[in-house]
Symmetry: none
Subunit: 144 residues, 4 copies
């Protein structure tokens, strides 16, 4: 289970990383294993669609069982299928890095982080930093 | 403008109040004046529809221009119309106390808080506590 | 056909009436006979759901073939059916006065006005004022 | 804040430009910073999907934080991702020029204009003309 306490640690550490790196303003969503929002913060200046993108990166990672970097790579090979998956999921699958699975000590997926605001690679750096600060393992692609 | 810093203060003070009163686990959403999510926390044990209810209480307050306690009273007088409003807004209007407008010193509405988890009256107590802790005025009904 | 020029006259005259009567801030939508938006103005201070309500009053009037005052009366007699109609139309039917059909000299319905912001009766007064200022006939219920 | 008065000036100046240039009939939408419609006009002869395109150009500009010309360029490089963004946003992101951010003297984004009817480049010319006539700065891409 992913507690609110852990989710808050993830978000705050992710945003601390973003400010240290001087990234663009971010939106950070933490979802439980059922795809439901546990906690969310949107930095001042982030656009109004950032929630939907952050949520979609996290939800899609849970939906497929791997981080959104893997989905990004599959999208390059098979764009049509990813377009269909996007529609199937009601827009909750975003093929861009920044959706990262959260695994506990027993390799169980307990949730996912989704971040949007900077380029996908930078969003992902912050997601990993947040997950690791909370004592979890981060899976940006297919989990071990 | 409603900063992330202020929104975080609102949520944390609302949850502090909830724990002091021993209320049921809460979901707390803070929206900006345009109805977009700025910050959110869901306490451990709150059910999976709590986000949508909390969000709808806040969004509906912004949509109509008064706190959801006023909408609750109107719903008792005219249930059909409130049912229609729910559909009009895509489910984003919830006629139960706990949606409270946030006003700054010049009486401008800068956002809204929506809380769900306990009975509406208790949700509202926490919303007001959070808003006031952040130095804003809370409007549970028609604002002054 | 309802020209942009006529639609603009309707909106501006409706808002002139609202200011003369000191009504609450209004949202005014003018739709053509196909239910498509021709022109719209939202006064400063009107809430964020007012577009959807104004549009729904006008669309529903065109949908049923009578002004929304008639829909309001039917809603009192048969609330369940109105709830279903609301869902059928995707929330585009609002049983409250303020949706008024626009008829030309030959009694053809060329469009509809929908207004939201004050109580339904006041919204309707402004809609009628706007329609008549543009040289059309206004039908608040079943047209002649 | 973007007042109705300023929004009306933007639309009327945009349409004046369109008539001076003899462009195709246009639909012009002005949104506030939260993505809500403030004013709209559709010239006679513009098709029935023009509202949705104009609205989507403006909404998507606010959603991403840059004018739709930038989104157009990104779409050429990564069409799959833009298709997904379209779904994520419920169709409210249109990668074609004509969505332009409105900035005030302090570089704050106070809203966006979206225009559809002619080719994107011509739509954009009218959006910029309207914004500047109202005393604001126009950002067709990433704002300064």
């Amino acid at each position: 289970m992913l507690s609110l306490s852990k989710a808050t640690t993830i978000i705050d550490a992710a945003l601390e990383k973003a400010r240290a790196e001087n990234f663009a303003p971010l939106a950070v969503a933490v979802l439980d294993a059922g795809g439901h929002l546990v906690a969310y913060k949107r930095e001042d200046g982030a656009g109004i669609v950032r929630f939907d993108i952050a949520y979609g990166k996290a939800w899609g990672s849970l939906g497929m069982g791997f981080g959104s970097r893997e989905l990004t790579e599959r999208a390059e090979k098979n764009p049509t299928f990813i377009g269909v998956l996007s529609t199937v999921s009601g827009g909750r699958m975003v093929p861009s890095p920044g959706g990262v699975l959260i695994q506990d000590d027993s390799c169980t997926v307990v949730g996912a982080v989704g971040i949007s605001g900077d380029i996908g690679g930078n969003d992902e750096i912050c997601a990993v930093a947040g997950i690791e600060a909370a004592g979890f393992a981060a899976a940006t692609g297919v989990p071990k």
